[in-house]
């Protein structure tokens, strides 16, 4: 006799099914021999071949990677500074306001962020002539803006979970504040910074809404390219492309999670 499933468990199974069945079926169909999106014609890597011959898709992929690399790097640098500042200067006036404000981009509807950034870029161009038009630069800046918040939060969490006396011990042993930062704070933050970087990378890599707002002619990121293609009907090569993205993002998130939950303070420096 089958055991009856409890209500919460049933809900859980349905929830996961809704989340993951579409993704898995998309991955499965990317290996479909048939060119009909809905019928299975046997296993094949045909659509991956088609994809790599499609220079538009390839350009979009390279552009997305370029933007993601640059924006993740800047976001990590700025977000780390913000995280350290928010944690270190715990008692400055209005600190709660600042901590709250750094979390705002996480919950702000993307259309709002996108629209406000667009308006900001336009007025900035009118005022000082930069950025001239919209394109790769504006997308990169927009991505730095919102992913920096995620890095700051990851860094802050790492600092909060760590023994404050480590930095004091270094000071006590004769290290000046800058040395403490270089020798102790940053090495201990390295896992959080790498995790933040990977997070920023994936956020930038799959952003569609904000990029669409601040993009200009000729600057088509991968999600924008896919979205425009899908409007003309789903082709199996898009499935292949999406599968590649899923793989990249999964690797990024898994590595980030592992780094964030790791206990030891990372590898020894130098």
């Amino acid at each position: 006799m089958m055991k009856r499933l409890s209500f919460p468990l049933t809900v859980l199974i349905f929830g996961y099914a809704f989340l993951y069945i579409p993704i898995f079926s998309m991955i499965a169909y990317s290996f479909n021999k048939s060119s009909l999106a809905t019928t299975w014609g046997g296993f094949s890597l045909r659509w991956y071949g088609v994809l790599f011959e499609n220079s538009q898709a390839f350009d979009a992929l390279m552009l997305s990677i370029r933007i993601a690399l640059v924006s993740a790097t800047f976001a990590t640098a700025l977000g780390t500074c913000a995280g350290i500042a928010l944690y270190r200067f715990r008692s400055f006036r209005g600190r709660r306001l600042f901590s709250g404000m750094i979390a705002a981009p996480l919950v702000m509807p993307e259309v709002i962020t996108g629209l406000s950034l667009l308006l900001f870029f336009i007025s900035l161009e009118n005022l000082i002539g930069w950025p001239a038009g919209r394109g790769v630069d504006t997308i990169t800046i927009a991505h730095i803006t919102f992913s920096m918040a995620f890095v700051a939060i990851v860094v802050q969490a790492r600092l909060a979970g760590q023994d404050n006396s480590l930095e004091e011990a270094a000071q006590d042993l004769g290290a000046r504040p800058f040395r403490v930062l270089v020798d102790i704070t940053l090495p201990l933050l390295a896992p959080a910074m790498i995790a933040g970087w990977l997070l920023a990378f994936t956020l930038s890599f799959d952003d569609l809404v904000i990029s669409s707002f601040v993009s200009g002619p000729g600057a088509n990121t991968l999600p924008m390219y896919i979205f425009s293609k899908v409007k003309l009907g789903v082709k199996p090569d898009i499935n292949a492309l999406a599968t590649i993205i899923v793989a990249l993002v999964t690797i990024g998130v898994v590595v980030a999670m592992r780094l964030m939950t790791r206990k030891d303070g990372g590898k020894k420096p130098g």
Binding site: S165, L166, E168, D172, L173, G174, D183, L188
Partner: protein
């Protein structure tokens, strides 16, 4: 600004000497000698967090070579005071002078003190050897000198084989040794130790306690040890400052603190004591008579300053100062009290008794078990006779 004028470098006179010194400084009593200047002066130091005074107007003189303990319960302000000495907290009032230099405004990295943290604070991403070398590197020492000093100090704490390990690969006791090694390798004038043995289990704590005293003696560094363990403070220290709510009710040698506690807090905190409230009946010359209702007795005790007729005072006696027997003692020059054993505890070497007097008062008595006994000599509900020497009583404040 000349930052290279590091306070450390001017005073590298204290060497780690593995041979016993002929006249160790700590064995004298520098605090009794008015010609000796204290090494550390704490003058009216307070530390406020908001309205709350974690350290409240304390004064302290500590002499070179002392192993000075600050003993107090959790939250009494011990760590805060150490942090003021190390420079992590600016005192709200008062000043700290170390070796004649006022420490006001001198940041931690330029003070001639090192601290061993309660959490040890070993750098997790560095090996044991690198942890220890860190402070020496900051002084810009040559590599060869550094590795020599690191090897020496690892030897001193018996951790020679552990240089290449990471802190995560060490046991609690080993981490403690590394933390100590890292703190003394710079040969500071003063070493501050925040509950150095607090994280160790009881057995290890006892053996490490003596090693710590030994290392202090060999290195000649002035140690200020914070602890909540009264036994530890009693066995280790040249002197003890008892700390309570940010203040020092008493500062003195272990013997003074134990035998002549000044306040009820100190008497209760260090060991156990039987204390009795009484009122002063009359003062005559150097003696006064105090009536103690709890004992149904009036005692003649030496007068203490500022006490007059009618005052309420507190007289106390330690459990081991009391004689106990089943038969009335033949010779006793003080009154003998009679009571029944309400409770007793056998500890092997000694036994503890809780004796209820006819007045209802309960007195704790401890007695050495000098003779081997297969059965208890004094059993529950036995009628016993107790007495003590009046001279072993102390008069307590509050």
């Amino acid at each position: 600004m000349n930052d290279s004028g590091n306070v450390y470098k001017q005073h590298e006179t204290i060497a780690v000497n593995t041979e016993a010194k002929s006249a160790p400084i700590g064995h004298g009593r520098p605090w009794m000698d008015p010609t000796i200047e204290p090494f550390i002066r704490v003058e009216g130091v307070s530390k406020h967090f908001g309205d709350f005074a974690a350290v409240d107007r304390v004064d302290l003189d500590i002499y070179q070579g002392e192993l000075f303990s600050i003993l107090g319960g959790s939250g009494s302000g011990k760590t805060t005071l150490l942090r003021v000495l190390a420079g992590f907290e600016e005192p709200s009032t008062g000043r700290v002078v170390i070796d004649g230099v006022d420490m006001a405004g001198i940041p931690p990295h330029r003070r001639p003190v090192n601290m061993m943290f309660q959490s040890y604070a070993l750098f997790p991403h560095m090996t044991v050897a690198k942890n220890i070398a860190y402070g020496l590197k900051r002084d810009g020492m040559r590599k060869a000198v550094i590795s020599e000093r690191v090897a020496d100090v690892l030897d001193l704490v018996q951790m020679s084989d552990f240089g290449p390990r990471k802190p995560a690969q060490l046991s609690g006791g080993q981490r403690q040794r590394v933390a100590l090694a890292r703190a003394i390798v710079k040969r500071p004038k003063v070493l501050l130790l925040d509950e150095p043995l607090g994280a160790l289990d009881k057995k290890l704590r006892e053996s490490t306690q003596f090693e710590l005293a030994n290392i202090q003696y060999k290195s000649g560094i002035t140690f200020i040890v914070v602890t909540h363990d009264q036994e530890e403070a009693m066995t280790l220290s040249t002197r003890i400052a008892v700390m309570d709510q940010g203040r020092f009710p008493q500062v003195g040698t272990p013997t003074e603190i134990y035998e002549y506690p000044e306040t009820r807090f100190t008497a209760d905190f260090i060991g156990t004591i039987n204390s009795f409230e009484g009122s002063v009946e009359s003062v005559s010359g150097s003696e006064m008579s105090v009536s103690l209702p709890a004992l149904d007795m009036t005692l003649q005790v030496p007068v203490k300053n500022g006490i007059s007729n009618g005052d309420t005072v507190c007289l106390a006696v330690r459990p081991e100062k009391i004689w106990i027997s089943t038969s009335p003692p033949e010779t006793a020059d003080t009154a003998v009290l009679t009571g029944t054993v309400e409770d007793q505890g056998y500890f092997g070497n000694l036994s503890l008794y809780r004796v209820r007097l006819e007045t209802g008062e309960i007195i704790q008595v401890s007695a050495q078990n000098r003779e081997r006994q297969s059965e208890r000599m004094i059993d529950w509900d036995a009628t016993v006779h107790i007495h003590w020497d009046i001279a072993s009583m102390v008069l307590l404040k509050e």
